[in-house]
Symmetry: C2
Subunit: 438 residues, 2 copies
């Protein structure tokens, strides 16, 4: 209950904004208006972003757009496809640019601070290409910025150049931003049901933090989930949380959770002069695929994991294994006339049974069907669980101080001005030749 | 040294065949001949396989084919694209079939036993479609089987129907099969350098098990890697191995390693009446992307991980961040005129420095460039390390007894004949309503 109360206090103080995103219908309407007004020849949105700026919209798109949507040939009137080159890899980014003609592409630049190095690198390449090919009108037509409403370099750039932009509320951190324009603008461009996302999230929000029952462990799924995962970690040594969707379209939702849980809870906790390193390790695993890769370890390896099997009751496809000459073989006959989705369900059940029989704790999250409301509920459920797990672990789930040093050292190695001292300090030691192989 | 000697003995007894795959030039030539003789209108190979039957060829294809190859429009004479629907998900499998017209597609069915449920399900759907549309000639033209040379249902089916087939040597297990036809046939279809893969693997093989220096820890990179990872796990409690490529094209190589390490070493070890659950947890992580997702946990969370940063000295792209109006802003100016690949290298260096300064052990694997020989070396290095780690952990790295129960329970849940007893035994307990939310 204290975890809920603490979180409520942060929300009321205006420090933690994600709970209130589902109420911002205007943001959703603006995203939809923007998408409707995009020129019809634009059939692709490339999201320039990394981490929370990419994982959230990617999760929503994978879950809700047609399967393998990026491979489908585009025709007029179709919703746009989305691409997420969430890295500063020159080879794959060049391929994205080769495959997406400028005239048919809009680039959504997503960075709250504006300065994220990987995103800035992508933006610089795209900006120059657009300006050279299409001039400043082309820049305005083919770039949209999603960033802080008032500060940061991308905000200044967007205002200076008249680039359309959407705000990320200052009280919403990157990994909690999927229900802000970070997620909504790409979702709208892909023709997804953005209001449905917000509706589902709001319903879950009302349940897990707003209602009077929210402080009751038995009435609050987010609180119970956070508490059980926390106790399994700290009391039973089960520090790894395996999120295992049994539907390909839900895999990126597990990857989204992987950031949320890791970056929020993996922290150095200082009490008195004492430093403790805490936090669970989330793992995204694909069912049934990983039964042929990780299940051996999950079943027989150390008892250091908790499992969350994530699935859907209804599947969009009734694809059936037909009877044929092949099903006359006894090894195949049991499949004849059955639905492939039922096989996948049976596999989930086999894994669940095998794990729990061995005393390995497993939970299931089952959507009635994969639609925008259910995905909105899922996002809010896990964001709230993360918010509550922060106080349980005694850490601030909203910061990420541990990544600063690596950034500084990277700037130093890259020769960025102002980082000369970090370059001197951070000069790598010569590797011990006994451990070097060529 | 004993780990090497034990592995040598298994190899000499003919029980462990993967070390000898690089010598089988005939297998490579047959794969190339097959690929050359494929009808020119076939522009896509869909690999029907799961686990080791998909991860190996997928890793080779991602590493060596052009970036985002599946998205590139096909034209005559182009190498074929590969798709890996490695799951029994009806929604995504239906999408694969919609996107790949039968006349332009060949289906490579890869399963050693022939009976793998997910692969069988895919095959049954494809077989009936081909037979209905193109008759038995179509089946022969559009299916190729990669399976045991003499036993199993797929072997019988291929022989009965006159489907072209390639053998998986009986002494080569699925997760060690990438250099067998499992990897070579798809690689050849995609126009990759299959001989180069074998050449690189052979060079590494000669170094890590054949030479007299192979029993010397200081001369054998596979043995040193296995030993260090084993000691970090068992002596220091660092049970998680994070394989983190800093090149998008290498990500699937990390995912391949994830199966290899987990399924080989995650085992129940029985000594006397005593049962112990052992094995490290491999994690695939994407650099620099996961710096914005996992690095906070890696840097400040519990000291339970070892890091292997995997990269390449040369990158295929010199993509540069150009000077423009944007780089007049100080937050962007440091990027102007620099190569994106150098940024990625600097990020690796920042992460490496930040982790090692905190006493978190990290190693790097650096390819000179990503070519077939280097990838062949990588495969063999990690296969050999896995083989050596088995005796260190005191487990058999070549079996996977822990997945059988889940299979049995899945068959039972699916209503397969002969599993009635498992169905009764495995009937799930009613969930405790205190833990159920709707």
């Amino acid at each position: 209950a204290a975890a809920v109360e603490q979180t409520r206090a942060l929300r009321e103080a205006g420090d933690v904004g994600f709970f209130d995103l589902p109420d911002d219908r205007d943001a959703a309407r603006q995203a939809m208006t923007y998408a409707q007004n995009l020129p019809p020849e634009i059939d692709t949105m490339v999201v320039l972003g990394i981490g929370g700026s990419s994982l959230g919209p990617h999760a929503a798109y994978s879950a809700l757009a047609p399967s393998l949507d990026v491979l489908r040939p585009r025709s007029p009137g179709m919703p746009r496809r989305l691409l997420f080159p969430d890295n500063a890899d020159p080879r794959s980014f060049e391929a994205v640019l080769d495959l997406c003609p400028l005239e048919r592409t809009v680039f959504a630049v997503v960075t709250k601070s504006g300065g994220t190095a990987e995103t800035a690198a992508q933006l610089l390449v795209v900006y120059k290409k657009l300006e050279d090919a299409l001039g400043s009108a082309g820049v305005k037509r083919h770039i949209v910025a999603i960033t802080d409403p008032s500060s940061g370099v991308l905000r200044r750039v967007a205002d200076d150049l008249g680039i359309e932009s959407f705000p990320i509320p200052p009280s919403v951190g990157g990994r909690f931003s999927v229900l802000s324009p970070v997620g909504l603008v790409p979702a709208a461009a892909a023709g997804l049901d953005v209001m449905g996302l917000l509706d589902g999230a709001r319903r879950m929000r009302d349940r897990v933090i707003d209602g009077s029952a929210a402080t009751n462990l038995r009435e609050n799924p987010a609180l119970l989930l956070a508490s059980l995962l926390y106790l399994h970690d700290t009391e039973r040594g089960r520090s790894q949380v395996v999120m295992m969707p049994y539907a390909d379209q839900l895999y990126e939702c597990a990857d989204w959770f992987r950031q949320l849980w890791a970056e929020s809870l993996g922290k150095e906790r200082r009490e008195g002069g004492h430093v403790e390193n805490v936090g669970p390790t989330p793992i995204a695993s694909r069912g049934a695929t990983d039964q042929h890769s990780q299940l051996q370890l999950y079943a027989e390896g150390p008892a250091d994991k908790v499992f969350v099997l994530f699935t859907t009751r209804e599947r969009d496809s009734d694809l059936t294994m037909p009877a044929s000459a092949l099903t006359e073989h006894p090894e195949y006959s049991y499949l004849a006339g059955k639905r492939m989705g039922d096989l996948l369900d049976a596999e989930l059940w086999g894994t669940f049974g095998s794990l729990t029989r061995r005393g390995r704790p497993a939970a299931t999250i089952t959507l009635e069907r994969v639609d925008a409301e259910a995905i909105g509920e899922y996002f809010m459920l896990l964001e709230a669980a993360t918010a509550f797990a922060g106080p349980l672990y005694g850490v601030n789930p909203y910061d990420q101080p541990g990544v600063e040093e690596a950034k500084k050292l990277a700037y130093a190695a890259f020769g960025r001005e102002g980082y000369e001292e970090a370059a001197r300090e951070g000069a790598p030691p010569e590797p011990d030749p006994r451990y070097v192989f060529r």
